[in-house]
Every structure is written in C-alpha cells, then in structure tokens.
Symmetry: D3
Subunit: 246 residues, 6 copies
C-alpha cells in the first residue's frame, strides 16, 4: 500500500448483525490490537431469519427485534474494538439495488481498507450470505474505478477473505489461511456473549475456534514453540503478493 | 519455526535438472538474497525427455547427455545461490521406490526446510512432474514422523508450494501467491541462459515472468507505489498460519 | 420430522409445466403410492420456450398455448396422483421478484413438505431451470424463519433433490440417489403421453429411465434379488441424517 | 448449419468497448478473412471502469469518455473487419433488464450467428464480464424459442466460446481450444493500438498471444510443419458435434 | 441385498490401528447395536507415523510400539463390539502389492459386507490414508468378479463411505451423510480413551462429534423432536438406491 | 500433422478386450470409413472381471476364458475395420511395469497415431480403466521423447479422447465432443453382437448411442438439416488447435 504512513484499516461486510462476531470476531480484535481501524457494515439486522428466540417471546414487532439486534451488535463491536454501521436493507431475503451498491462503494472510499472480510461464495442454508459476499466484491471493484465519482481517491486492491460459514463443506468453503486468535480469544468470547438471542451458538463457535486452533498448530508443525489454542479460518479470493514464502 | 536463531532454509524438488530454473529461479535467488540456505534436489537429469536438442546433435549417449545437463544445472544453481544434488533416478518415466523416498526424507531431515517448492499436482503433458510432487510431499510426511529413524530431529511443517507448470490451466494449477522477483530477475535470466539445450524456452519463461509481474501489480492495486515487473506464481497446498491478514 | 402422526407430503417446483413429468414423474407416483400428498408448483407454462410444436400450428396466441399446456399438465398430475397449481410467472425468461418468492414460501408453509424436488443448480441450455432451483431453495429458507409471518408454523428442513436435466454432464449434475420407479413406470409413461406437444421426448425419457434402472441395479449389486428396470436419478443438496448406513 | 448457401456469421458480445479487441481480435480478423460476417455488440463503453487514463486527464465528463471510447472501438472494428453496435447500458455496474435481454435476442435473430464469442463465466476482478456472458447465453436461448416473437426465424445452436480473461486461473477459465491467429496478428496488433487509453495493456496482450502460440504449437506436436507464433485461447460451453476426431 | 435372512455385516478398512476409533467408532458401535457383525481390518499399526508419544518415551523398538498399538486397538474394538485383524503392512509409507490386495479381497468374500467404511480419497497430510481407500475400493471390485477364485460366492455392491479426515476441507472431503451417534457416544468415548498414546486427540474428536451433531440437527430441522447431540460425517462414493426420498 | 501425404491412423487403448466395442466402436468404424488405419491394443482380456457369463458355465479355466474373449474381440475388430493386438497383462487388477509402458510406447512409434482413444480418468467401479488411461497417456509422452530409443522417429502430439464410462457422472466424465456415428451404427451394433458373453449390455449401449445422438442434434440446433440418430461422447484431454471456431 502506498499510504504507509497512514493508519491501517479493515472493512468487514456482514449480512446480518451477528455474523461478524461468530465468524470474524477474532480477526477484528486481533487487528484492532495491532493498530488497525476496523469498520463493520451490517447489511441487515437478521431480524427475520436469525432472531428466532426473540420472536418466540411473543408480542414482538420487526422494529423491536431490530432494536434488540442493534444493541447486541453495538455492544459486541465495542468489545472487539470496531466501529459499526447498519444499512438496514432487510433480510430473508436480502436484496441489493444500485443504491445499496454505491453506498457500500462509498464506505470503501471512506475507509480505504487494507483488508476486507466477508461471507463465503456459496451457502445453501442461507442465501443472504453469498449475496453479501458479491455485494462486497462488486462494491470494491466500483470503488477502484477512476470513473466512479471522478476526482475522489480510489481504493487499492485490498485482499478479500471469506470467513467461515456454519457448515463449511456444504458451502464449498476451504480455508487457505488460519488466523491465530489465541491472544484475543477472551475478547471474542465476550462479544459472542452479547448475542443473547443465539445462545445455542456460543459453544458451537467456541469449538470451531478450538478446532481451527489445533489445525493451525498442525500446519505450523509440532516442533514449533508457538502455542496456538484458538483459530479462525479464512479463504482468500485473490492471490497474495509477497516476497517471502516461508 | 522454533529454531528462530538458526539460518532459514528452503528445499526445491525438481523432477528434471532444469525445472528449478524456469519455475522457481526467482524464488531461489530472492530467498538466497534474504539469507536463506536454498538446496535443490534434481530427481533426474531429464536426459530422455527434455534434451531434444542434445540428442539431435547425433553421436550421443545417455551418459553424455546427463553430463551436459549436470553441468548446466550446476552453473544455474551457482548463479541463483543454491546448493544442488542429483538423485539420477532416470526420467521418462521417473519411478520412485521406497529407497528413493527415504533418501529424500533424509534430505528433509538434514536441510530442515522452512519452505518447500515443487511441481504441480497434475500435468497431462508430463507424468514425471506430478510424481516428483507426490514424492516431495510423502518424503516430507515421513521426515515428520518420530518413528522414522527414531532419535533424529524430525522436521516441522514447512509450507509446500507448487510452482508454475508449462501450461497452467491444463494442469488445474491456480496461483494463490504471486512472488515479486523484480529485484532478482537478472539472476534468474542469467541462470536461464545456462540452459543452452532449451533456448526455445528462454523467451517463453521471460514472458511468464512479465505476465505474473503485471498480475501481481494488479493484485497489489494501482495506487500502490510498489513497482513490480517480474513475478512467479505459486499454488500452496496447505493453509498458511498468520496473525495479519493485510 | 416431529409430526409423525401427520400424513407425509412432498413439494415439486417445476420451472415449466412439463418438467415435473419428465424429470420427477416416477418419484411423484411412487410417493403418492406410499401415501404422500404430493403437490406440484409450475412457475410458468413454458409457453414460449417449450411449446415449439404448438406454435408451429399457426394461428396461435400466448393465451392459447398456455391453456393447452395447463390442460396437459393437469392431466399428467392427475395420473401421477399429485395436486398442482400454476404461478404463471412467464418463461424465457423466467424472473422472480420478492412477491413470487413469498408466494412460494407460503406454499411451503401450507404444504409442510417432507421432501422437495426441483431442477439442477446449473443448465447452460436453459436459464429458467436454475432460476427455479434457486427460488425453491430461497423460499424454503424463508419458510423456515420465525420472523417471516411470525406466529405461523415454520417448516422443518426437508431434503431438497435436484432432478435430472436434459444433458446431465453439461449441467455439472451428478446423481447421488437412484430411485427405483419400476413399480410406477406405467403411470409415469401415461403421464408422459399427456405431453402431446413434446412427443419427440417420450422415447428420450423412457431411455433415461432404463439407463438409470440398469445403473441402480449395478449399484445394488448383481447378487441382489431386486429387479430394477426403471429409475430416476437425483442429486441431493444437503447431507442426509440417518442411523443406518447400509 | 442448414443454410449452407448463406454467408457464415459470428457474434461477439463484449461487456466494454475494448474487450473484443484484447480478447477476440484474432478470432474476429481470422473469421473475417475466411468470409464470415462478424458483428460486435458492446454492452457498455467501459466509461467508468476501464478508462482510467482518460479520467486522469481532468476536465472529463462521462459523455466525453464515452465518445472517445466509441471512436477507438469503431476504429478497431474496422481494422478487424467487423460491424459494431453499442448498447450503452452503463458499466460498473453493468445491469441488464428484460428489455436489454430482448434487444440482444433480436440481434441473434438478425445476425443468425454460426459462432458466438463472449466473456468467461467467472471473474472476481470484474463483475461486468460474467454478467455479459450470462446475458449472451440467455439471449441465445430466447432467440432459439419458437414462442419468442412467433413467426420470426429462430436461431440454431451456435457454439459459444469464452474468451480469455485478464487473469485466467483466478477466473476458473481453462482453454479447450487454441486458435492459430498468426496470419492475422498484424491486424490484431493494429486494432490494439487504437486503444490509446490502455497502452499499458498492449504488451500484456502481445505476450498472451505469444504464450498461447507456443502452447498451440506444443499441442500440435513438434513434428508438425505448422508454424504457429500467435494464438488465442477459448473455452467452449457446449460439446462440439463432429465426424472427425483428429 | 439378497441374503435378507443372513445377519448384516460391515467392514472397516483402517490405514493405522487407531483410525477406525476416531473416525468411525460411532458407526461401528451403532451398527453393532443394530445387530450387524462389524469387522475391522487395520492395514498397519501406525507404528512410525502415529505413535510419537510412545517413541518419545525412549528405549523403544518398532516391535514394542506395534504391540502397544495392537493392545490399544484390540481394547477399542471390543468396546465398540467389532472383531479386528491386523495386516501389519507397515506405515509411513504404507505400500500394497497384489498379495495385500488379494488378502483384502478375501476378507470381503468372507465378511460379505453390507456396508464398507474407509478413509477419504485425498489427504495431503497423510499419504497412507488415501492408499488405504484405494486398496479398499479395488479389493471390493476384485471380490465382485466371478473370475477371481471362481466358484466362491462373490460379493454384492455394498455402499462405501469415506469417514472424516483430520482436516476435512484440505482433503476435499464433503459429508453427504450425517450419522446420529448420540445413543452410542459413551461407547465411542470409552474406545477413544484406549488410545493412550494420542491423548491430545481425545478432545479434538469429541468436538468433531459435537459439531457434526449440531449440523445433523440443523439438517433435520429445528421443528424435529429428534435430539441429536453427537454425529459422524460420511461421504459416499456410490449413489444410493432407494424407494423413499424423505 | 506434417506427414500430410501419409495415411492417417488412430490408436485405441482398451483395458479389457470388449471396451473398445461398447465405448469407441462408432469412432473406429467411422474413421475406418474415412480412410484411417485404426489399431486397437487390448491390455487384458477382461478374463476375471468382465466374463461372468463364461465363468458361470462351469468347467472353465482362465485360458479358456481368454480364448473365448480373444475370438470375440477379433471378430468385432474385423467388423469395425481395425487391426488388433493383445498385451495379455491380466485384469482385476491390471498392473503395468516399465516393460509394459515401453511396449505401448513402441506401438505409438509404429502406428504414429493422429488420434488416440482410451478410458476416462476416473472410475470408482473399475480400477483397471483409469490405469489404462494413464498408461496410454504416459506411453504417448515417452514416444514423444527424442531420448527414448534415440534415432527412431518420435510421435507428434495426437489428441487424446476419453470414451464414455458405464456410469458417466460417477466418473467425473463430461463429454466435450459428440461424434455423429449414425452412418456406421449398423457396423457398431454388429460388433456389439460379437460380445456373446455380455448380452445384457447390448441394449444398454444402444440406448447410450441414442441418447448421445439426440444430444448431438440438440447441440447442432433444431434448424439444422442434419439428421443425427446415434452418437458417441468423448472428453478431450488437451486443447484443440484450430483455425475455425464454428
């Protein structure tokens, strides 16, 4: 990146207001700890599709559900050290028109991210997730174009990583990066606990982190002194450019 | 890696005696420049399958071809800054028994590589290439086992990268790493010129390097100040373990 | 399924009004014979794209074609033992807005299917087919959400099967289930004969059934006493949950 | 094709106004030389996304950029021997409604192409490209339907080829046809030089042609007397029907 | 299967002597509980590659390691309710000649399995595993041939399932069957505890079972009354022949 | 090909002595009719794995089975217009050492084929088939090498086509060429009838030919006057080099 003197930044595009916690909470806390400005965009609150516990309480409205979800997401973002905004595009189904696309492209222009995290390319259990991925990808491309809002500074070519879906093999998702999140696991688990409406997932994603931790250790080699307990898996979309292969 | 105080090392497993030059010459020179010990194993000389020009001279024997190829490879390795050894296993077809496998495992134990470079997993034009890949992979696994020559120090889990085959798409090879070799291109091209018997490939692999260079630049982003002219593509087999995604 | 005392049901989502006959007629008749309520939704009549013979008669209008197609489909559904409804969304191209999606989700809620049959995920010969598949998949997801029409009973997680496209390999379709339809073949062939406008396909789909029958027999093993003559192939989208692997 | 007495024709569907030059200029010139009528449809001018150099001049408007791009494309088409038309649908993002689809279907009906060239099925760097591919594919299907504008002559089943994207492996693009464009390379390079705004790509696509040329030669066999220097790669979507396999 | 009156049987082919426990212990115990005769073949003891803890004790020989591993495997098999035999073919590398192939084919003939469980088709971390898979597959084919030991009863076409490798996505392994092993989890965990030399894996495979349990529940649907806590994933190689899709 | 004045030739590599009939009989007869010399190599007689009916006669020996199979294959080859030879390498399992590889390479050198036909790259039902494919591929590569039997004329780069396996989708086989064999179907069906021991396959492969015929017609387009009734599908391994895309 050319702006070596600027602070580094990361952008997370989350279909629903809890996805960024389960799937990228470790990466957010870790990069925050490394000095990145991390910004989260929640395209919807997941008010219809991912708030079953709230709806079962009875006497609910979509507005009430959204408020509860917004509060949870705000609390989690604060713990992880990220700023957050909500596009409130609706879920089940999430649909994006050109305005939504440009709105997200404008976030790219403003944030100038050094790395982008979003959903997997496929998910037969959840059609909102890949829609978010494609919106994040296309907005990035538009933000790179000189001809979009000419005169504004364009964005570079930040790597895009797909975070782990709920049932990875069914989504044709295969991690090529394992992120060591051991040092920030306490933050991630705190953030997870903000998601009161989805308590059944707390242990599930704890175990995901433990499994990816063991795998990371195995991929580093047992002779390594590095102690990895918790991990997050990521699949990259673009090749990485480097000068050191080890 | 645990031995942070030790010098870093790299291992290159090449089916024939010229492959390491075309496909990984940049990586070798670059890592040598960064202080790595780079060691090349040539499983064969490519005496049958990749020495057409020599055979056409007439009055040739397999021994004469092998000597010519050995001399070329030695010269290239010296320019690139690598040590080299020859297993002389024969080519077209290359075949590996258990002894060859253990011999290569012993090289792993001796070299203790921090990174391994070898061929693609498939190649319909060249059956020796994937055989070399699988031998390199299996020898790595054996060298990791406590029960192989118990008491010897085992190896860690160095990343393995597949270098670029001659017709990448036909080999289902897809680079996920683009290595910037601009700073060492002169060394690579000098080494390439040692391959007198395959002059028709000099320009081909120069263009490969230029194309991968342009692609690397595109993947870094046009706002980057980084000037990349020459590149090499690599496909990784294992996930990368990291703490920074940008 | 929780409602073990209820009658079982199946839902078939067909892009055009004849697809359910060629592709799933055996499954419909078989499950009807097993006591299922089978319901077919035809998204369009195939009035533009799959009614060449009718158009060639001359003096045709889209309305006349639709009526002819509706009559054929009704007759076929009756023979197979299924109820049927027509969304009349238009074909070539089929397009679905949110209302169509919710309409289909409401069918899921009403039918509460134990199994869903629809098209393949890809088809380079027919863009309406995969659109139907994705609509069927997304409507199923919406019907599962507590927040969609809160208070209504949601649906479970019925398996979804892709039925066989016209040129299976070109559609990346690979059957993992072979359904023995020998016992209901006469019904299926009767239903096929309702499709007067596509007589050229009668023998084609008879042979498809014979080939899948032979393959089913081969996959059961030649020592089996089971006599399979006609089959239908299906590709499942979700993993099957079971307690017996044999 | 049934109309053996008619002149043969080809249709090229290009997302932006320069794509047909870089990616299919050789095929266009070659088929023109063989007597084909070649027609190019540019869905957009690439005014936003592929005109960086023009925008950097300053004092630009979208209209001015489009005019410059139109002029370049017209000049290139003339050199290559193709007719050309512009749909002016906008780029970054390109979006197609039903009217655009029917407009392109009408081009198919008018041109009656014996072969169709368009973009790859995927491209993570450029979302307009696969959109063009899918539009070209769906319009072809609609133009084949008797029920679309009944009474008009429908089109046959011309083969569709995907031309080479900028970073082929990242687009899951794999050529199964290598076109020998040696005899028309001078035309293609002349046409390339019309693209004044993208001079950085001239050498890139020259090298692409050289690499595909070497690969074509390798796939013909070194014993062949055929001298291939420049090539273009294509991936076919449909199987080829033939009576001779050699 | 034709021999409906005979007891059902299952065959498990395990590369090393502990694999069947981690990967298929639930399936073994479950089918044993359902009345199957389950037979396990361990091709090697994993004496070199999977006994690190034993080797680190010092004063070890390959024979001592094998005895320890045999004792563990026997104990585990007894808990799970399976018979077991050891081919002692050596590991790291496992290699199979024709005699080994025929020996395993003879086991098929003797056991006449209704279902076969073995490793995944690929595993970049362990070359012995896919070798075992291919041996199991080829032996099954030979045991089906009338011309192999003519006169002996041949085997049918039992389904073959690949059990879960250590890092599933890296092995291109995708489960299409989720087996509910909740009712036998206590047996599996007891068997796991026999593997004293690999205590670091106990919790890893407990979590694997919990994750697959949650996924199984999700795939059954939250409206189901079925309570699934532990699961095992399997990938089938052949299509399933059935008469009921639900 | 350089030897334009020479007669064209084709090489068929068949794992068992009947495969070339079911899978490539049409191509053989068609190319013979076009003036090619077609040569078939049967690696084995299929005496163990594909002669069930003979073995069930009782009083059989491997030698008797082989003689019966040889007679059938000779008769079929004569009808199709091909020369044939038998390597008698054994089946179930087929295994190839270096001598077999060189023997086949020598056939390539002698035949100098313009096209090669062999099995699919995968087949979970038959491990001999892909072994034959890989042997055919590697022998072709060796026959191309100047250093193999230096001084002999090497072979060019004939295209290699995989013919259709018994259950195509399960073998990951996807045809990209459909061969119109209508004009020689009577020859193929005559040859099929020579396979007295596998009468159950006669109709199966008749229907395969009819299905591929319909698909070929669909891929040519319904406006074509060409009347295709029978077809064979082929998957090519290498890209095709051409000057005409239509």
């Amino acid at each position: 990146m050319s702006n070596a003197t600027l602070k580094k930044s990361a952008l997370v595009v989350s279909a629903h207001s809890a996805d960024f916690v389960w799937r990228a909470g470790g990466a957010i806390a870790l990069h925050h700890a490394q000095g990145y400005d991390v910004h989260v965009v929640c395209l919807s609150f997941g008010e219809r599709g991912e708030s079953a516990k709230l709806w079962r309480k009875g006497n609910m409205t979509e507005e009430k559900v959204k408020e509860a979800r917004r509060a949870e997401a705000n609390a989690a973002a604060e713990i992880l050290g990220a700023s957050i905004e909500f596009f409130d595009m609706g879920d089940y189904p999430l649909r994006a028109d050109k305005e939504a696309l440009f709105r997200l492209a404008d976030v790219y222009r403003r944030v100038q991210p050094h790395v982008v995290l979003t959903h997997s390319l496929k998910d037969p259990y959840n059609y909102d997730h890949p829609l978010a991925t494609h919106l994040a990808q296309e907005a990035r491309i538009i933000a790179q174009a000189e001809g979009y809002r000419p005169g504004e500074p364009i964005v570079g070519a930040p790597p895009v990583y797909c975070f782990e879906p709920h049932q990875p093999e069914q989504c044709d998702w295969k991690p090529d990066v394992l992120l060591d999140i051991t040092s920030v696991w306490d933050k991630k688990y705190q953030a997870i606990q903000c998601m009161a409406g989805q308590e059944h997932l707390w242990e599930y994603y704890t175990r995901v982190a433990q499994q990816r931790g063991v795998q990371a250790k195995r991929n580093v080699g047992i002779t390594s002194s590095r102690d990895i307990i918790y991990g997050e898996g990521y699949q990259s979309i673009f090749p990485r450019v480097t000068e050191d292969l080890a």
